[in-house]
C-alpha cells in the first residue's frame, strides 16, 4: 500500500515586535510615568485655592513644580540606567549585535516618554479642574513644550549617570543633588535664563520661540552627553552640543525671552456707578460679583462729588484719578474658585482706599474717617472693636463715645446735606487737607 503525504505549507515567520514596545509597556517606565502623575497629584491639590480659576497661576504652578519634577525625572532615569547592573546582564548585553547607543536609547526613551506622558496628563487634569472656575483670560500652555522637553532631557541625563555610576545610591543622590542645584540656581540671576525651572513671574510670559530654545538647550545637552557616552563616533556629540550652546546664547542675550502680558495691564470697567468699578481684564468675569459687593457703597455715593473717577485693579499704584480696588489676586483670599469671598470685608477695604493715605492725621479727621467708613461699609469686625474699646481704659471709652456720636450724626443727616458733607470730605481728603475736612 502506498500512502501519499501532502507537504505541509511553510509556516509564516513569527511576527516579531520591536523591542521598544516591550520596554515601553513593561517594567519600570509606566511606573515612572505614574509616579510623575502622582507627584503632581500630591503637589498641586493642597494649594488649589490659590490657582483654581486663574489660568496664569495654574500655568505658573505647573511650571514651578519642575523644581521637584526635574530631579525626580532624573532619578527615575538613573534608576533605569542602572538596570543591567542590578540584573547582572551587562556582559550579556556587550555580546549583542546592536550598537551601544541603540541599546541605551531603547532602554532610556520609554522612561522619558512615560515621564512626558505623566506630566502631560497632569497638565490636562490640572487644566480641567481649573476650567469650571475661570472668570476670564485664556489657558497659558506656552511653557508646556519646553517643560516637557526639560523633563525628557533630565530623564536621559539621569539614564547616562545611572549607567556610569556604580552605586545603588546613584538615583537618590542624583535627585538630592538636582534639588540642591535647582534650588540654588533660582537665586542666581546669571543662570536664570538657562534654568528650565526658573519660576514664572506674575504678568510675564515667554515669547513664542522660548519653548523651542529651551527644548534645544535641555535636549541638546542631554543628547550630547548620551552621544559622548555611547556613540561609536563620539565626535557626533558636538552637533547637539552646538545646538544647545546656540539656544543658550539665544536665551541669555538681548532682552530675554519673557515679555509682559498685555492683558494684565488692561482694565474692564462698569461705568454705570460712582465711582466706576474696574477689574483686571484677566478676571473680567469677576466684575459682576465685585460690582454687587460694592453696590451698597456706590448707591450711597450717588451724587457725591470729588470722588476718584474709578476703582482700578492694576496690581501697581493707582493713577491720579483712581483708587486701588482691593486685589483679587493672589487667589485664595478674596477670590476662591471664581467666587468673591468676604464681600463685606472687600467693600470695607475698597472704601478705605477711596480716601487715600495722607500719613498721620489729627483726631478730628480720624473721627470723620471712622464715621464715613461706618456709614458706607462698616467693617465686619466693627462690633468686636467697639466691644474691646468699651472694656478698655478711660481714653478708649471716650474715643468710642466720640466715634459713635460722629457715626450717628452722619447717618442722621438728610440726603442732600450728607451728599454735600461727603463731597467736602472727599475733596479735603484727596488734597490731604486736614483743615478742610468738615466737622461732625
Amino acid at each position: 500500500m502506498t500512502t501519499t503525504t501532502v507537504p505541509a505549507a511553510p509556516e509564516a515567520p513569527a511576527r516579531t515586535r520591536h523591542p521598544l514596545r516591550a520596554e515601553a509597556l513593561r517594567g519600570f517606565p509606566p511606573l515612572a510615568g505614574a509616579a510623575v502623575l502622582l507627584l503632581f497629584g500630591a503637589l498641586l491639590p493642597p494649594s488649589a485655592d490659590t490657582w483654581q480659576g486663574d489660568w496664569a497661576k495654574t500655568a505658573a504652578q505647573l511650571h514651578t513644580a519642575l523644581v521637584i519634577a526635574l530631579p525626580f525625572a532624573a532619578a527615575a532615569g538613573c534608576w533605569q540606567g542602572g538596570r543591567e547592573r542590578r540584573r547582572r546582564t551587562e556582559e550579556l548585553w556587550d555580546t549583542a549585535v546592536r550598537a551601544p547607543l541603540t541599546r541605551l536609547l531603547v532602554s532610556a526613551l520609554p522612561v522619558a516618554l512615560w515621564v512626558a506622558v505623566g506630566y502631560l496628563l497632569a497638565v490636562g487634569l490640572t487644566t480641567l479642574t481649573s476650567w469650571p472656575y475661570v472668570r476670564g483670560d485664556h489657558p497659558y500652555l506656552s511653557l508646556v513644550p519646553g517643560d516637557t522637553a526639560a523633563l525628557m532631557a533630565a530623564t536621559l541625563v539621569g539614564h547616562v549617570v545611572g549607567r556610569a555610576a556604580r552605586t545603588p545610591l546613584a538615583a537618590p543622590l542624583l535627585g538630592v543633588a538636582g534639588y540642591a542645584g535647582l534650588g540654588t540656581a533660582v537665586y542666581q540671576d546669571a543662570v536664570s535664563p538657562l534654568n528650565p525651572a526658573v519660576p514664572a513671574v506674575d504678568g510675564f510670559w515667554p515669547v513664542w520661540w522660548q519653548p523651542l530654545a529651551m527644548a534645544a538647550w535641555t535636549l541638546g545637552l542631554a543628547f550630547a552627553l548620551t552621544l559622548a557616552y555611547a556613540a561609536r563616533r563620539r565626535a557626533t556629540a558636538l552637533l547637539p552640543l552646538a545646538a544647545a550652546l546656540a539656544a543658550a546664547l539665544l536665551l541669555s542675550t538681548g532682552s530675554g525671552p519673557w515679555r509682559p502680558d498685555p492683558l494684565a495691564h488692561r482694565q474692564v470697567c462698569d461705568t454705570s456707578t460712582t465711582p466706576a468699578v474696574c477689574v483686571n481684564a484677566r478676571y473680567s468675569g469677576m466684575l459682576p460679583q465685585v460690582r454687587a459687593a460694592l453696590s451698597g457703597v456706590t448707591g450711597k455715593l450717588h451724587g457725591v462729588r470729588s470722588l476718584p473717577a474709578r476703582w482700578s485693579d492694576r496690581g501697581t499704584e493707582p493713577r491720579a484719578d483712581e483708587a486701588a480696588l482691593p486685589m483679587l489676586t493672589p487667589f485664595g483670599w478674596y477670590a476662591v474658585r471664581g467666587r468673591l469671598m468676604k464681600p463685606e470685608q472687600y467693600a470695607w477695604e475698597a472704601v478705605a482706599s477711596l480716601r487715600g493715605d495722607c500719613g498721620k492725621e489729627p483726631e478730628r479727621v480720624l473721627l470723620a474717617d471712622d464715621a464715613v467708613q461706618a456709614y458706607l461699609a462698616p467693617s465686619p469686625l466693627q462690633r468686636d472693636f467697639d466691644a474691646d474699646d468699651a472694656k478698655g481704659d478711660a481714653a478708649a471709652r471716650a474715643r468710642l463715645r466720640a466715634s459713635q456720636a460722629a457715626r450717628a450724626k452722619l447717618a442722621g443727616m438728610d440726603e442732600q446735606r450728607r451728599r454735600t458733607w461727603l463731597s467736602a470730605y472727599f475733596a479735603a481728603r484727596a488734597a490731604c487737607d486736614a483743615e478742610g475736612v468738615p466737622s461732625l
Binding site: P45, P46, S47, D49, A65, I68, W79, P168, L169, A180
Partner: protein, 198 residues
C-alpha cells in the same frame, strides 16, 4: 564577638552604609553653614528635609540581601536582627545628623531633624517591604519632595500632619505622623523583611 556579625555586616554592605551616613552628615553640616541659618532658622528647612531623606535612602539600601533565599532557610528567627539593624542605623543617624542644626530647637533644630529621620526611615522601611530595598528610596523621595513644595500654599491643622517633613520641631501633629510612619515601617520590615529580589 559573635563570628556571624561581621559576615552579616558585610552581606548588608554596612561599612559602605556607615561611610555614606558620615558623608551625609558632612553634607548637612556644610549646607546648614552655607545657608546662613543663624539669621533665620527657617532657612534650614531644605537641610532638615533633605538630609534625613538622604540618610533614610542610605539605610534603605542596606536592607537588601543578596542571599535572600538562603537567609530564609535559617533556623533562627530573623526579626530580631532586622529590628536591631534598622533601629541601630536610625539611632546612629539621629545621633549624628542633628549636629548640623544645633540650636533653634523650637523651629528647625535637632528635634525637627530627628523627627524627619524617624519619618523618612519609616517610609523607606515600608517601601522596602512593598517594593524592595533597592527602590525603597522612591516613595520617601516623592513624598518629601511633594510636601516641601506643596506646603507653602497649604494652611490649617491638617497641613501640620501631612506636611510633617517641613514643620517646626515643636509641632505635635508632625511628630505623630512621623512616629506613626516609623512604627508601621519598622514593625512591617521586622516581621516581613525586604521584598525578595527587589
Amino acid at each position: 564577638m559573635n563570628p556571624g556579625l561581621p559576615l552579616y555586616a558585610r552581606s548588608r554592605a554596612l561599612p559602605q552604609t556607615l561611610a555614606a551616613l558620615a558623608a551625609t552628615t558632612g553634607f548637612a553640616v556644610w549646607a546648614a553653614g552655607a545657608l546662613d541659618a543663624y539669621l533665620d532658622p527657617g532657612r534650614r528647612v531644605p537641610v532638615v528635609a533633605l538630609a534625613p531623606l538622604l540618610a533614610a535612602a542610605v539605610i534603605g539600601a542596606s536592607l537588601r540581601s543578596d542571599s535572600d533565599e538562603l537567609d530564609r532557610t535559617a533556623v533562627r528567627p530573623w526579626w530580631p536582627r532586622r529590628l536591631a539593624h534598622l533601629l541601630a542605623l536610625t539611632a546612629l543617624a539621629s545621633a549624628v545628623l542633628p549636629v548640623a542644626v544645633a540650636g533653634h530647637a523650637e523651629t528647625f533644630g535637632a528635634p525637627a531633624m530627628i523627627r524627619n529621620i524617624l519619618g523618612c526611615v519609616g517610609i523607606v522601611a515600608l517601601a522596602a517591604v512593598v517594593l524592595g530595598a533597592r527602590l525603597s528610596w522612591l516613595p520617601a523621595f516623592g513624598y518629601v519632595s511633594a510636601a516641601y513644595l506643596a506646603s507653602s500654599g497649604a494652611r490649617g491643622r491638617a497641613a501640620t500632619v501631612w506636611a510633617w517633613p517641613v514643620q517646626p520641631g515643636a509641632q505635635p501633629g508632625a511628630w505623630a505622623a512621623a512616629l506613626a510612619a516609623f512604627a508601621l515601617g519598622t514593625a512591617l520590615y521586622a516581621v516581613r523583611g525586604a521584598r525578595p529580589g527587589g
